[in-house]
């Protein structure tokens, strides 16, 4: 479980996160939704400690992350898996080396065990026989998928995904969503996913947190979203006509 308590974050004059408190549950896919620029990425980066919060605390399974020293942070981070919005693959390493990285760094596996594990993770994101390509030779969606394989290679306890399916075709997007949900349940991880894709919300959102202009505006399950009468949430969710129709059918 990850608990965020009253965090604030500003960049100079820009107050991006305002008193955000939220609990992310273990074994569940927790979604953070909100408009572009609402502060989702900043929130996620504060949670993993890439940005320092101005005030407030973050707890990982009751341990206070914000007051940990560097060594303790390093240790808990070995249980993290993170997918960045821009993939952030190591561009001097091949696909295989990218995915292997944590195995080389933190395990005593043999070469053949590592190769098997890498190929298994790559097959789960539908990327076979691309092992020897460099990131510059991949499409945007393929980079994302490699980054997901890299994030899950060591079965993290905490998985963070920033827009895992932006830039992917609908079919692959669903595949990635399912993969995230499956491994979350299989390994009882605490997973936090940033998205503005309503398909994902309906498909995998066990818990949904809606961020509006840097504040937590609403939280609930994906089913409750359709029934909510929160104006900002409705404006966000019912922006597309398809979902509006769904809502109408529901009402009848």
């Amino acid at each position: 479980m990850i608990e965020v308590r009253d965090i604030n974050k500003s960049f100079e004059d820009l107050h991006v996160l305002k008193d955000v408190s939220v609990n992310f549950q273990q074994g569940k896919t927790n979604l953070i939704i909100g408009k572009s620029g609402s502060g989702k990425t900043v929130l996620l980066k504060c949670i993993v400690g890439l940005l320092e919060v101005d005030s407030g605390d973050i707890f990982y399974s009751e341990q206070c992350f914000t007051s940990m020293n560097n060594k303790e942070k390093k240790q808990i981070r070995q249980k993290f898996g993170m997918l960045f919005q821009g993939a952030a693959l190591f561009d001097s390493l091949t696909v295989e080396e990218n995915v292997r990285f944590k195995l080389d760094m933190f395990t005593r596996m043999t070469e053949s065990e590592k190769t098997a594990r890498v190929n298994f993770c790559l097959s789960r994101v539908n990327l076979e026989n691309k092992n020897l390509l460099l990131p510059s030779e991949l499409s945007g969606g393929m980079k994302k998928r490699v980054a997901i394989a890299r994030a899950i290679v060591l079965n993290p306890r905490y998985l963070f995904c920033d827009e895992p399916n932006s830039g992917l075709d609908p079919q692959t997007a669903i595949l990635i969503d399912r993969l995230i949900k499956d491994i979350t349940e299989e390994f009882n991880m605490t997973t936090i996913v940033n998205t503005h894709d309503l398909n994902s919300v309906m498909e995998i959102g066990d818990k949904v947190v809606f961020i509006h202009e840097g504040s937590k505006w609403w939280e609930g399950t994906s089913k409750e979203i359709l029934e909510s009468d929160n104006t900002e949430l409705n404006n966000f969710v019912f922006a597309t006509s398809l979902v509006r129709q769904l809502k109408k059918q529901d009402d009848i």
Partner: protein
């Protein structure tokens, strides 16, 4: 104030870079790779620069000493001392600051702005250690070899140009470069080259690692890396000359 701020931040980065590696084998592989990228790939430019430097120094010394009382073998001696004392360490270091410094700063800067450094941190890897330490050690290990190579090629260049221009004969040149030879000059030069390698890699890493923004800032970091490494090299050259030769 801001200079002190930079020096403090630089020192803290170095402290992180020299922390205990997570896994020695991974760092060792990185070290070998950096030795190749930073050191071996610089052999070509060092050879070219040194050859022409040696050639020019010899001819210039000859033209400036066209005096019948001046034995020609002294041209060899003067060229040798210039090459050993200054050119093979300081000038080569300045050239490397341009090549290696911009390479390091743009690599680390790009990794910073594309969040690759964040990705390392999130994995629980000490990004400063993993990225910077192999660069520092890699160039420090190879710098004396580059410097020694530069000495040899420089003296060779002097011989070729001196004899080709007809300002000195082969026996005179050979005699001259051995005359009143002080072996400490070589040690001095090699020590300087190691210190300069440290300056180039750390100053450039500092600029690259703390890049913020986008592609434009990467370019800026890379320019600053070259300029600042060069200035620090010249400053330390002065200090080291004073400390070691006086």
């Amino acid at each position: 104030m801001t200079l002190l701020h930079h020096i403090g931040k630089y020192a803290l980065l170095l402290k992180r870079a020299f922390a205990r590696p997570e896994k020695h084998k991974v760092y060792y592989i990185r070290l070998i790779r950096e030795m190749e990228i930073l050191g071996l790939n610089s052999v070509g430019i060092v050879v070219i620069i040194s050859f022409f430097m040696g050639a020019v120094i010899t001819i210039q010394t000859a033209y400036n000493t066209e005096n019948p009382l001046f034995p020609t073998y002294l041209i060899g001696l003067a060229a040798r001392d210039s090459i050993l004392l200054e050119f093979s360490s300081t000038i080569v270091a300045l050239i490397l600051a341009g090549k290696v410094g911009s390479n390091i700063a743009s690599e680390l800067g790009t990794m910073r702005v594309t969040e690759q450094i964040d990705a390392l941190e999130i994995m629980g890897v000490n990004s400063a250690g993993y990225l910077i330490l192999p660069k520092i050690l890699g160039l420090m290990i190879l710098a004396p070899f580059l410097s020694a190579l530069s000495m040899i090629v420089g003296l060779f260049g002097g011989w070729i140009s001196g004899t080709a221009a007809g300002v000195i004969s082969t026996p005179d040149y050979i005699y001259g470069i051995q005359f009143a030879f002080i072996p400490f000059y070589i040690t001095y030069s090699l020590i300087k080259s190691v210190i300069f390698a440290f300056i180039i890699t750390t100053v450039s890493s500092y600029h690259g690692y703390y890049t913020s923004g986008g592609a434009l800032e990467v370019g800026r970091s890379s320019t600053l890396a070259v300029v600042h490494s060069s200035v620090v090299i010249l400053l330390f050259n002065l200090i080291l000359t004073h400390v070691m030769l006086s």
